[in-house]
C-alpha cells in the first residue's frame, strides 16, 4: 500500500518540482544577479535590485498596488456581505441565487474586463447615453484611472467574497437568531451582535481569496488603467519583456509574494476551516 | 489438547499492538477452533476492534504472532488472507447492486462463473427478488444481510463481525441473533463476533473472550463465565452484580421476605421497578450499602419505605482477590 501511494504522488511531485519550484528558485537566484547587456543575467551578485524597490518611482507602484488591493477587498466585503445574507435567507431559491452569483465568474475574465472597457470609454455606452440625455456635453474620463481599475477588480472578484461568506452564514444555527429575538433583540441588532461576529471567519477567508489576485492583478490594470505600469503585476511584466531587466523583475516578484504571505498568514489562520 | 491445537483455525500468541498514544492490545493470546461461534466482548476502548483489525490484516502487530490455519500471517495483507469482515457500517459499495456487491470478492479472485453462488447466497440471507437493488434502497437490516452474504459467499476460514447489530433497533437485533447463530451452524464457518452487548454475547456464543484495557480477562463458554467469573471485572461486566462486603452476589440470588426466619440483613426498600417479566427492588442494607434484588413471579410487591429481610446462599457468593 505504501508503494501505491508513492507512485500516485510521483507525477504531482515531479510536476510541481520541475514546473513550479524550480522556476521560483530561478527567480530567487535572478533577483540577486545583475542585468546583462543583451537582456540576460550576469554574474555580479548584488542586492541592488531590492534596494531599488524603495526608489520613490517603484515604491509608489507597490504602494498603489497595496492600496488598490486593500480597497478592492474592502468594497467586496461591503458589497458581498448583504448579498450573502440575502441568499442565505431566500429559502428554496438559495441554490439558484448562488449559481447566479457564480455564473459570471465562470465566463471569461478577459471578456468581463473588456465589458467595462466597452462601457467606460469616451465613446463607450455610458458616455454615449449621458451625452444623448444631455447630462454632459463632452465625454467623462471614466477610463484609464485608478477608479476604473478598482471597478474592474471588484467586479471580477466579488463572487470570491460572496461564496465563503455565504458558507459561514449558512452554517449558523437558525436557533441563534431566534434566541436573540426571544431575548429582545430587533433584527438589526441581532445582525450586528450575532450574525456579523459569527461571519468573521468567512470574511477572513473571502478577503484572502480576493486580496491575492487583486494584489497580483495584471489584465485589469493593463486594460482599464492606461499607462504602462499601474500596478506591480504590470511592472513585473514590463521588466520581463520591454525593459528586459529580469533581475529587477524577479526582485519585484519576490516582494509581491512576500507582501502576500505577510498579510495572508494571519488571515488564513483566522478563517478556520472555511477555506 | 494436541488435537485441539491441530484444529485451531486461528491463534494469537502474545500479540501486542501499540499506537503512538497508547497500547491498544496488551499481550493477548487466543485460540479459536474451527466451526464454532466466538465472541469478543468488552466496553468501548478495550481493544476488541483493534484485535479484529489485526486478524483481518488492517493493522500489523507490534509484536507477537498471528497464525491462520497454522501459518504465520503477520505480514500478509488483508486481500490475501482467507478471512472476511462484516463492517459495522456494512460498507456496501454504493454504486453496485446487491448482486454485484456480493459478487465482488468472487470477481477479485478471478472466478468466472459464479452466478450460482451469488444466487445461493442471496437466498440464504432471504433477499431473493432484491438482487438488482442499490444499497441506498435497502433498509438497515437488509443492508446487513447483504454484507453477510458478500462475506460468506467467499467461504472464508473465519468470519469477523464488527458489532454488526449495533445500528439495528431492539426487536430486529433479537431476531438477527437467532438468524446469525443458525447461519453459523448451517455453514460451519468459524464466527468471531465483536460486541459490547453482553446479552448478545451470552446468547449467541459457544465461547466468549472478555477484554478489558487491552487484555483478555477470561475465556470460556457463556455459562462458565457467567457463573464462575475469573476476575472482579468479569463478574461486574456480565450481568449485574451486587457488592456486599467483599462478596459479590447476583441480584437474582437475593431473596426478600417481610418476616423471614433466616436472614443475612435487614434493608429498607428504596424503589420498586416493574419491568414486565421481573421486578427490580432497590434496597438499602443495614450496613449502608445499596443492593438490587431481581424477583420474578407474583411474590414481588414491595413498597418504598418498607423494612424487609434479605437472604442469600453462601454458594451464590463470589469473592475475588483485591
Amino acid at each position: 500500500m505504501k508503494q501505491l501511494r508513492f507512485w500516485m504522488l510521483a507525477p504531482a511531485r515531479v510536476w510541481m518540482a520541475l514546473f513550479f519550484a524550480a522556476p521560483l528558485l530561478i527567480v530567487v537566484a535572478y533577483s540577486l544577479l545583475t542585468r546583462g547587456d543583451y537582456g540576460g543575467v550576469e554574474q555580479p551578485t548584488t542586492l541592488e535590485n531590492f534596494t531599488r524597490l524603495f526608489d520613490p518611482l517603484y515604491g509608489a507602484i507597490l504602494l498603489r498596488s497595496l492600496v488598490i488591493a486593500i480597497v478592492a477587498t474592502a468594497f467586496c466585503l461591503l458589497l458581498g456581505f448583504p448579498m450573502a445574507l440575502f441568499i442565505s435567507r431566500s429559502g428554496r431559491r438559495k441554490n439558484l441565487y448562488l449559481q447566479l452569483v457564480t455564473l459570471p465568474f465562470w465566463t471569461s475574465f478577459l471578456v468581463r474586463t473588456y465589458a467595462w472597457l466597452f462601457l467606460l470609454r469616451d465613446t463607450g455606452l455610458i458616455n454615449t447615453l449621458l451625452i444623448k440625455a444631455g447630462i454632459v456635453s463632452s465625454p467623462l474620463p471614466l477610463l484609464y484611472n485608478n477608479g476604473a481599475v478598482l471597478l474592474g477588480l471588484v467586479y471580477g472578484y466579488l463572487p470570491f467574497m460572496v461564496l465563503p461568506l455565504y458558507a459561514t452564514i449558512e452554517r449558523m444555527e437558525p436557533a441563534l437568531l431566534e434566541a436573540a429575538a426571544d431575548l429582545g433583540a430587533r433584527p438589526f441588532a441581532a445582525l450586528r451582535r450575532v450574525t456579523l461576529p459569527l461571519a468573521l471567519p468567512g470574511m477572513f477567508a473571502g478577503s484572502v481569496l480576493v486580496f491575492i489576485p487583486c494584489m497580483g492583478a495584471y489584465l485589469t490594470p493593463d486594460l482599464l488603467g492606461g499607462g504602462k505600469t499601474v500596478m506591480a503585476g504590470n511592472l513585473i511584466q514590463n521588466q520581463f519583456t520591454t525593459a528586459r531587466d529580469w533581475p529587477f523583475g524577479s526582485a519585484v516578484s519576490l516582494m509581491l509574494m512576500a507582501i502576500n504571505m505577510l498579510l495572508l498568514l494571519p488571515m488564513m489562520r483566522r478563517s478556520e476551516d472555511v477555506l | 489438547m494436541m488435537i485441539a491445537q491441530m484444529q485451531a483455525i486461528l491463534e494469537l500468541r502474545n500479540v501486542v499492538k501499540d499506537f503512538p498514544s497508547h497500547r491498544a492490545v496488551d499481550d493477548i493470546s487466543l485460540t479459536l477452533e474451527a466451526g464454532r461461534f466466538y465472541s469478543l466482548l468488552g466496553a468501548s476502548g478495550c481493544g476488541k476492534t483493534t484485535t479484529l483489525r489485526l486478524i483481518a490484516g488492517f493493522e500489523k502487530p507490534t509484536s507477537g504472532e498471528i497464525l491462520l490455519n497454522g501459518t504465520r500471517v503477520n505480514d500478509v495483507p488483508p486481500y490475501r488472507r482467507n478471512v472476511s469482515t462484516v463492517f459495522q457500517s456494512y460498507a456496501l459499495f454504493p454504486h453496485l447492486t446487491v448482486e454485484k456487491n456480493i459478487a465482488f470478492g468472487l470477481e477479485q479472485r478471478g472466478e468466472r462463473s459464479f452466478s450460482g453462488k451469488v444466487e445461493q447466497a442471496i437466498e440464504m440471507v432471504r433477499l431473493s427478488g432484491k438482487s438488482k437493488r442499490l444499497p441506498a434502497e435497502l433498509s438497515g437490516g437488509e443492508k446487513q444481510r447483504v454484507a453477510l452474504a458478500r462475506s460468506l459467499v467467499l467461504e472464508p476460514s473465519i468470519l469477523l463481525l464488527d458489532e454488526p447489530l449495533a445500528a439495528l433497533d431492539l426487536k430486529l437485533r433479537r431476531e438477527m441473533r437467532a438468524e446469525l447463530k443458525a447461519m453459523q451452524q448451517r455453514t460451519g464457518i468459524t464466527f468471531l463476533f465483536v460486541t459490547h452487548d453482553q446479552e448478545e454475547a451470552l446468547a449467541m456464543s459457544d465461547e466468549i473472550a472478555i477484554m478489558h484495557r487491552g487484555k483478555i480477562e477470561q475465556t470460556g463458554p457463556p455459562r462458565e463465565v457467567y457463573r464462575k467469573p475469573a476476575t472482579r471485572f468479569v463478574a461486574g461486566f456480565l450481568g449485574a452484580m451486587n457488592w456486599i462486603g467483599d462478596a459479590g452476589v447476583r441480584p437474582e440470588a437475593l431473596r426478600i421476605a417481610r418476616n423471614g426466619s433466616e436472614y443475612r440483613s435487614t434493608a429498607r426498600v428504596e424503589q420498586s421497578l416493574f419491568l414486565g417479566n421481573a421486578v427490580h427492588v432497590l434496597l438499602k442494607l443495614e450496613s449502608g450499602e445499596s443492593a438490587t434484588a431481581e424477583l420474578t413471579g407474583a411474590e414481588a410487591d414491595f413498597r418504598t419505605g418498607e423494612l424487609v429481610h434479605v437472604n442469600w446462599s453462601s454458594a451464590d457468593e463470589m469473592r475475588f482477590p483485591r
Binding site: V27, V101, L219 | -
Partner: protein, 252 residues
C-alpha cells in the same frame, strides 16, 4: 430588513449582469459605435471569417483539453495519495501555487524555459503552455477532489481489500467511481481556466502558438471593436453551457 435586502440584491445582480448583457446586445449592433442602428450578424460573420482567430481558438481548445485532462489525472492521484497519508511538502507547494500571483508564475516559467532551452535546444510552443497550465491547475483539481474524498466512507476501501482486492483495484473499482462527479467538475474548471488564461500563456507561448485570449487582447488593446463583442458572446455562451453541465454532473 428583508425588503431592503431584496432591493439591494436586485441592484447587485444587475451590477453583475448588465455589463455582460450590454456586451451581448451590442454584438448584434449594425454600427461599430455604441448607438444602436439596427440588428446585424455582421460581426459574427467577421469572427468566423477571421482565420487568425480560428487558428487561435483551435490552439486554445487543444491546450485546454490536454492540460485539463493531464491535471485531472495528476491532481486526482495527488489528492488521493495525500488523503491516505499526509505529504506536507507536496501540500505546501500546492497551496503556494494558489497563493502565487499569475504574473509571477508566468515569468518564473519563462525564465525556467529559457534556461532549459540553452541546453536542450527547443523553443517555446504549444507544449510549454500546456506544461504551465497543468502546473497551476493541479492545485485546483486536488482541492475539489480532496473535498469529495472527505465525504467518503473509509471502510469501503477496507471492505474491498478484505474481499480480495489489491489497494490499486480497491481505488479503481470503489473509490474512483465515487469520485467521478467531483473529478469531472474539477476538470471542467481546469478547462475553463486554461482556455481563458492570458497572463501566463502570453509569456510562455511560442511565436506560432497564439491563443484566443491573446488575439482578443491584441484587438482590445487597439480600441473597442464589435468583433470582440461577438467573440465574447460566443465565449460566454460556451462557458455558461459547460458550467451548467458541470453543475448537473456534480449534483449526482
Amino acid at each position: 430588513m428583508k425588503r431592503g435586502l431584496s432591493l439591494y440584491a436586485a441592484v447587485a445582480f444587475a451590477f453583475l449582469y448588465v455589463p455582460l448583457f450590454v456586451l451581448v446586445v451590442f454584438s448584434f449592433n449594425q454600427s461599430r459605435f455604441t448607438i444602436w442602428t439596427g440588428f446585424s450578424l455582421d460581426w459574427y460573420r467577421a469572427v468566423f471569417a477571421n482565420t487568425e482567430m480560428a487558428e487561435a481558438t483551435w490552439n486554445s481548445v487543444v491546450i485546454a483539453v490536454t492540460s485539463s485532462a493531464l491535471s485531472a489525472v495528476i491532481g486526482t492521484l495527488a489528492a488521493y495519495g495525500i488523503w491516505k497519508r499526509r505529504s506536507p511538502l507536496l501540500t505546501g507547494s500546492l497551496y503556494l501555487s494558489l497563493v502565487t500571483p499569475e504574473i509571477v508564475t508566468g515569468i518564473s516559467l519563462l525564465a525556467f524555459f529559457q534556461l532549459v532551452f540553452r541546453v536542450v535546444h527547443l523553443t517555446l510552443g504549444l507544449y510549454t503552455v500546456v506544461l504551465a497550465h497543468v502546473a497551476f491547475s493541479i492545485a485546483y483539481v486536488a482541492i475539489v477532489v480532496t473535498a469529495r474524498l472527505r465525504t467518503l466512507d473509509p471502510s469501503l476501501e477496507e471492505a474491498a481489500m478484505d474481499l480480495g482486492a489489491t489497494p490499486w483495484r480497491a481505488f479503481w473499482r470503489v473509490t474512483l467511481p465515487a469520485l467521478a462527479p467531483g473529478i469531472i467538475a474539477a476538470a471542467l474548471l481546469a478547462l475553463i481556466v486554461s482556455f481563458d488564461d492570458y497572463v501566463i500563456t502570453s509569456l510562455v507561448a511560442g511565436v506560432d502558438s497564439e491563443t484566443l485570449p491573446m488575439v482578443i487582447y491584441a484587438i482590445a488593446r487597439r480600441g473597442a471593436n464589435p468583433t470582440i463583442n461577438a467573440v465574447s458572446t460566443l465565449i460566454v455562451v460556451g462557458f455558461g453551457a459547460l458550467i451548467i453541465i458541470s453543475e448537473r454532473v456534480r449534483q449526482r
